[in-house]
Symmetry: C2
Subunit: 339 residues, 2 copies
Amino acid sequence: MRAVIMHSPGNVSVVDRPDPRIEQPTDAVIRLAATCICGSDLWPYRGANEVDEAPMGHEYVGYVEEVGPDVRTVKVGDFVVGSFMASDNTCEICAAGYQSRCVNVHPMGGIGTQAEYARIPMADGTLVATPAPPEADLLPSYLAASDVLGTGWFAADAAEVRPGKTVAVVGDGAVGLLGVLAAREMGADRIIAMSRHADRQELARAFGATDIVAERGREGVAAVKELTGGLGAHSVVEAVGTQESMMQAVRATRPGGHVGFVGVSHGVELPGDKLFYSAVHLHGGPAPVRRYLPDLMRRIAAREIDPGRVFDLSLPLEQAAEGYRAMDRREAIKVMLTV
Amino acid sequence: MRAVIMHSPGNVSVVDRPDPRIEQPTDAVIRLAATCICGSDLWPYRGANEVDEAPMGHEYVGYVEEVGPDVRTVKVGDFVVGSFMASDNTCEICAAGYQSRCVNVHPMGGIGTQAEYARIPMADGTLVATPAPPEADLLPSYLAASDVLGTGWFAADAAEVRPGKTVAVVGDGAVGLLGVLAAREMGADRIIAMSRHADRQELARAFGATDIVAERGREGVAAVKELTGGLGAHSVVEAVGTQESMMQAVRATRPGGHVGFVGVSHGVELPGDKLFYSAVHLHGGPAPVRRYLPDLMRRIAAREIDPGRVFDLSLPLEQAAEGYRAMDRREAIKVMLTV
C-alpha cells in the first residue's frame, strides 16, 4: 500500500509499505476513506521531537476491510471512526472515561494512518460504526471526530463549560476552534477566542465565539479580565502546549475556575506557587476521544455541528508532503488527505 | 496586649503590642480563647521565607469583644471561629465558594492572631458564631476548624473523595491527618496514609486510615499502586508543598483521578509533560475554609468528629517560643496556645 513516512524533520514522502494484516484476533483492518495531518505532527516536522523514518498519522475514517475472529461490534463494510488511541474500552480506566490511558492502550500514531490501509487493535473497543454509510459531505466532520473535535470537546468538558459561563480559548488551531464549537454546544454564555489570524477569527465566530482577543501573554490575560469584570473566565481551554499558552490559560481563569488543557506539552514547567495561588482547577492530557465518539457521531449525522469546516485544504494522499508544508507555513488550518 | 513576634528566622518571643481597635465599620475585635502554630509558620521559622519583626498566627477562636457599627451577624459575647483569610463572603468569587480568593481578601497572618486580641476585618463575612458558648473540651476542635481541619477538608473535597473511592494522603502533619478524617467523613472506601512516624500513623488510623505506607517518592508511589491493582488511587491529598510530595501525589493518582493539593508550594516546578500524560485532575491552593465552617462547626458540636486531637501539645501564649521549637523539632504535631 501507499503510506506517508517522515524520514527526518521536514522530510515527508509517500512510499510503498506492506499491507497491514490481522495480527491479533481482536484486530480489524480498515481501508481509509480519509485521514489528515495533525498539529502535533508539526512538532517532529519542525524538529521539536525526534523522528527517524516514522509512519505518520493517527486520525482516520474508513471502511472495515477485514476483522479478526474475536471482533463482535463491527463487521466488514461498516463505516467506522476511531480515536487516535486504540483502547479496550472495558478496563477500569476506560470505564471511568479515560480510554486514552487504557491499561492496554495502543497509540495509532505508531501504526500510521496516513496510508491506504491501517490495522486497528482492539477493534471492538476502538471503533464506532455509523448505522449506514455516511453522506459524502459529512466525511470531513466524521474525520474531525477522530481527534480534533474529540480533543476540543474534551478540553471544554475538562474546563467544565456549562450554561451561563464565560469561556476563553487559548489557541486558534483546529483543536482550539473546535473547543469554541464545543463550548457553544455546551451552552456557554460567552466565548472569547484568542486569535491573531483573520481567517481563524472568522471560523471561531462561525463556531460560536462572541468575542475575539488578538493579544497574547499578559496583554491577552488583561483583555480577558477586562471582559469579565476583572475576575477572569470561568473556563479556559488551552490548545497549544507551550509555557506561554499554559500560563496565559491559568492567569486568564478566575479563582475556582477550570482550565482544560490539551495542547501536547512541550517544555512546560508550571511554577507551583503560581498554580497554588491561582486556585484554578487543572485537567487535561491526551483526550479520551472514544468517550465522546458515539455522541459526536450522532450530532454530525443529525447535522447539528459542522466540525469538518476546520479542513480548509484537501489533497490526495500522494500529495501529503504539500499538506505538511501548508500547515507548517500556516497556509492551512488543517489538511485532509483523501485516499 | 501580649502578642507573638517573629524577629527573624528561629527567633520568636511574646511582646507588648498596642491593643487592636475597630478601624472599619465592618470590623470586629475578638478576645482570643485559643490560637495555634501552623505548619506554614515553620517556613519563615526555618528561613525558607523572609521574616522581619512579623506578627504571627492566623488561626483563632474567641469571643467578640467589640463590633463596628455595620456588623450584623455577630454580636459582643459570641463565641466565633473564622478562617485564616478574612473575606466579604458576598463577592462573585466568595459566592462560588472561593472565599480565600475573595476580591477583598485580607490575610489574617498580616494581623497576627497569636495574641490576646485580634481585629477581624469584614466580620460578617469572616466569622461564624456558635449558637451557645462551647463546651470547654471542644475548644481544640473549633480551633482546628479555623485552618487545618478546613484545609484538610478542602483537600479531600478538591480530590473529589466519594464513597467507594480509594484515597491516598501525602503528608502526615495536622493537615494531612485531617485530610484522612475528611476522607473518612466523605465515605472513602479505603484511605492510605503515607507516614513514617509511629505517633502520626496511630493518629491517622484513629482518624480512619485503613492502610499505612511508610515509603516515600517512587517507592511510595509503587506501594500505593500495589494496593490499587496497579492503577493508583482515585483521589490523592497533597499536604506538604515540596517538589517530591507534589510529584508523589501526581504519580500515585490513576489516570482521570483527582489530586487535591494544599501544601503551601515551595520551589515546586511541575513538568508539563508529566502532568499532561498523567491525565489527573489537579486542584488546590489556599483553602476556602469559610465555605466549610458552618458544616464543620455543626459536626464538632454534635461530636461527630474530633479534629482537636491533632493538638498534642498545649502551652500558654507566653510560652509560644517553646511551641515553635517543639514543632520545628517534630516533637509535636501541632501546638495550641491558650490565651
